[in-house]
Symmetry: C2
Subunit: 503 residues, 2 copies
Amino acid sequence: MQKNQLFVGTFVHSKSLNQLEYLHDAAIAVDKSGKIVAIELQFYDQKQAAEILYAKLGWDDGDVQVRACEEGQFYFPGFIDTHIHAPQYPNAGIFGSSTLLDWLNKYTFPMEASLAKLPRARRVYGQVVRRTLSHGTTAAAYYATIDVAATNLLADLCLAAGQRAFVGRVCMDRLAPDYYADEGGPDAVLARTRETIDHMRRIDPTGDIVAPILTPRFAPACSDGTMEALGRLARSDDLRVQTHISENVGEIALVRELFPDAADYASVYDGFGLLTPRTVLAHAVHLTEAEAALIHRRGAKVAHCPCSNSALTSGECRVRWLLDRGVGVGLGTDVSGGYAPSVLEAARLACLVSRHLAMPYNAQGDGRRAPADIDDEERARATLSVEEVLHLATRGGAAVLGLEHKVGGFEVGMEWDAQLIGLNMVANDEHDDGNADGTGSVEKSSGGGVGGVGADEGNVDIFGWEKWDERIAKWVYNGDDRNTKMVWVKGRLVHQRPSSTSS
Amino acid sequence: MQKNQLFVGTFVHSKSLNQLEYLHDAAIAVDKSGKIVAIELQFYDQKQAAEILYAKLGWDDGDVQVRACEEGQFYFPGFIDTHIHAPQYPNAGIFGSSTLLDWLNKYTFPMEASLAKLPRARRVYGQVVRRTLSHGTTAAAYYATIDVAATNLLADLCLAAGQRAFVGRVCMDRLAPDYYADEGGPDAVLARTRETIDHMRRIDPTGDIVAPILTPRFAPACSDGTMEALGRLARSDDLRVQTHISENVGEIALVRELFPDAADYASVYDGFGLLTPRTVLAHAVHLTEAEAALIHRRGAKVAHCPCSNSALTSGECRVRWLLDRGVGVGLGTDVSGGYAPSVLEAARLACLVSRHLAMPYNAQGDGRRAPADIDDEERARATLSVEEVLHLATRGGAAVLGLEHKVGGFEVGMEWDAQLIGLNMVANDEHDDGNADGTGSVEKSSGGGVGGVGADEGNVDIFGWEKWDERIAKWVYNGDDRNTKMVWVKGRLVHQRPSSTSS
C-alpha cells in the first residue's frame, strides 16, 4: 500500500482545447489509493501547505511522502497513447520508402509473427513498456499480436510495471500471410480473443490498470463472421474496440472492393456494430463528410498518428476538421508506422502536420500543385497550437479511451497519473566580470557538467527570461525523455530517471 | 600539437547521393595536422592494423593515439549545418502560429538586438556552439547579428571550441525596426562588415576553422547600395555569401513590390553580383523553373531547412526537383525558424517533408484539396531516403560551403571531421530459462541501468538482428545527441559525452 502523498510546486495542465492552466506555489494531495483529494493554490512554502492540508484531510505527518519541484520543474498530466503496436517496436524507424500495404507484408507481419516465441516477446514488450513509461506515457491502447500467450504476457508486463493499458489480441482471419494467420474461422478467432479477455479480468479484476480491448486489425483483414462476432461481444460485454480506418488511399480502395455494398469505410464497421462510443479509430486521414458525421453520431473517437502518417506517406489528418465536426481526437504514436514511442514527439508532429495542411501551395504558379479550393482563412485555421496538441495528448486521449473522468488533468476526484518535467537551466554568467570575451568558457564546459551539454538535462535550454507559455513551447519542440524526471500512475511511482533525486 | 591518431572499427559514410558505404574492421590513420593519411580495410584486430600502418607511415608507436569502436558503434562524418542563426537560439521552439514576416518582428529582431550586450552574447553563443557540437555539427554557416563586437565574439568562440564556422555579420539597412537597424548608409554597413572580416582573418589567418561570410539578411532588408557594395566585395575578395530566398509567399510578394524591375527573386541577387558559386541560399521553397535554372547556371547552392519550413508554415522545398535541375543542396537547421540545433533532426524532417510532397491528396474527392496535376510517379520520386538525407547532411552540406574536398566523407587527403555514434544495445535475455513469463523484469530494470532506459544511451534500441542499413535508419529516426559520443574537427576532439570513455 502506498503512503499518502503531497506534491508541491508548479502544476500545468490543459483547461480546455486551447488553454493551459498554470498553478504556481500550489499543492496537490493524493491519497493512498492514488486519488487526488485536495488541490490548494497559492501556498508559499511546503510547511504551510502541509499544516493546512493535513488537518483538513485528517492525515498524519508520518504517513505522508512529500515531493517538491525544483527550480523550473513542473508537474504535467501523464501522456496518453491512444494507438501503439507493441510487437512492432523493434522496427521503429525502419520502413524504407514503403507505404501501408507493402510495409505490412515486408516489415510488420514477419516481426509480429516472430513474437510467438515468448522469450522474444518478453524482451520486446519489456522494452516497449519501459520506453513508453520513460516518455511519460501513463496509459496506452496496445495492439498485441494474434498470439494468445504473448498477448497475455504483454498484459502481465503492463500490470507489473504499473502502466494503464488496454491490450488487444489482434484478430485477422482474412488476407493474412500463411505464416501469420488467425486460423479456424470466426468461432476460433473469438475463442482466442476470449482467452485473453479472461486472462486480463483475472489478473486485474477491477480493470483499473489493465483491461481488454477488442482488436479487429482493420476491415480488409477480418472476415464478415469475425467482425459480426466481435460486434456482438462488444455490445454484450460493453467492451472497448480499436481498429484502423482510412489511413491510406490503397487501403480505402481495397475496402471499397471487398465491401461493395457498404456506403463507405466507416459504414463497414458500423454495419457490424463496431462503431460505438468505446471505439478508437486510428488514423482517419481521408474520411468523407458522411463518414465524419456517422462517426460523430456513434460517438467513436479518433487516434491521430502524425508521425506514422508522415513516415508512411499516408496523408495529413485534418484534426481541426474533425474537431469542428464534434469528433473526439487523441494522439497515437502508432509504433512502428510511427517511428517514435514518444507522445511528445507525436504532439510535436501534430503541430507540424497541421502546418502542412495550412500551407499555401503553388505560390509561383509553376504547376507544382493546383491551389487548394478552400480559402486562406479556412486553411490557416488548420494550424494546431502547442496548447491544443498538449490537450490532445492528455485530456483528448483520455476521452478517446473513456478515461476522461479519471485522468488527463489535475482535479479533485481524478487519479494521480502525472509526470515531473524538468528543463535545462542555462547557467547565468551574464554578470561575471572576468573573461569578458568569453573565449575560454566553451573549452571549460565542453563535454558536460550540470546544466551543460552532456548532462541528463536534455536539449531544452531555459535562459531564465522565458514566460511560462514559452517554456512549454520549448519543451514541446525540443523536449525528450530526459525531461521526464518521474512518472506516476494512480499515485505509484512507475519511472524515475537515475539522475533524479526524489525529495 | 595533436598526436597521430589511429581509428579502428566500423566507418560509415556517403558514397553517392543514394548510397552509404560501410567499412567494417577498418582502420583510418589521421596525422598530427588532422588529415586522413591512410584508410585500410579488413583488419581483424587493432594490433595488426597498427603494425602494417605504422611501418607504411613511418609512425612511432609511442606517438599514436589509438581509438577503437565498441560493439555497435561506428564513425560517421561530422554534420554540416549550412544555415543557422546563432543569436536566435534562445527562441528555439518559440514561434506561436506566426509566419515569417510577423515572426521576425515579434520574436527575432528583439532577441538579436539584445545580444549587443556582450555578456549576454557570450552566454548565448557559448551555448549554441556547445549544443551544435554535441549534436555532431563540425561545420556551420552562422548568421550573427548586426553588432560587430558580438559577431567577432561568435568567431572567437567557434575558434576556441574548434568548430569550423563561417560567421557573418548581418547586413540590414532597409525596413529594419528603429531599435535594430544597420545605420549610416552602404559605406558604413560595409565598413562594419569589413571590421568583422579583418577580425576573423587576424584570429585564423588560414581560415581553416573560422572564416567570414558576407550576409545580406535578405533582399527586402538591404538597400540597393548595400547589396551592390557586398556584391563587389564578394567578387574582389572571393568571399562566401549567404542569404535567404523564396521562403514564404508574403516575402516573395514583398520582393516583387520592392524590385518591380527584376524578373524574379533570384534575379534580384544576380543583379547585384550576389549569385556566385560561393553563395548559400537558404530555403528556396517556392522557386520557379527560371530561378532554378539561373541558380544552377551561377553555381549557387541551397540550404534546405525542413524544420523551419514546416514550423513557420513556409512550404515544402522540392529537394528532388532542385537536384534534378543540378542545384546543390545541403541541410540547415535554421535555428530558430527551425526549432532544433540538430542536423540529425533536420535530416529526419527532410525525410518527412519529402513524404508530404509525395502524398496523394484528396483521395475522397471531398474538396479538401484539388488533386495535384503532376502524376503519381513524379510525386513518389519526391521521397528522400535515409541514405539521401545523410548525403545532404554531410557531402551535400560540404559542397554547399565549398568544403567538398576537405570534409564530408572519409578519403585519404580529407580532414578528420567525424563523430563516433553509439546506439543502445538491448540486453539479450531471450535464452534465459528463469522467469519465463517475464513479469519481474520491467520492475527490475525500470529507471535505468546500462542499456536500459535512463542511461545516456538514447532512444535507438538495437535488438541485434538488424542489418546495418536498418541500424542507420533507426538512428536517423530516433537518434539524438546521446548517440553522438565524440566529435572531432580536423583531428581535434571537440566534444565528448561524459559517459563515454576514450580508449
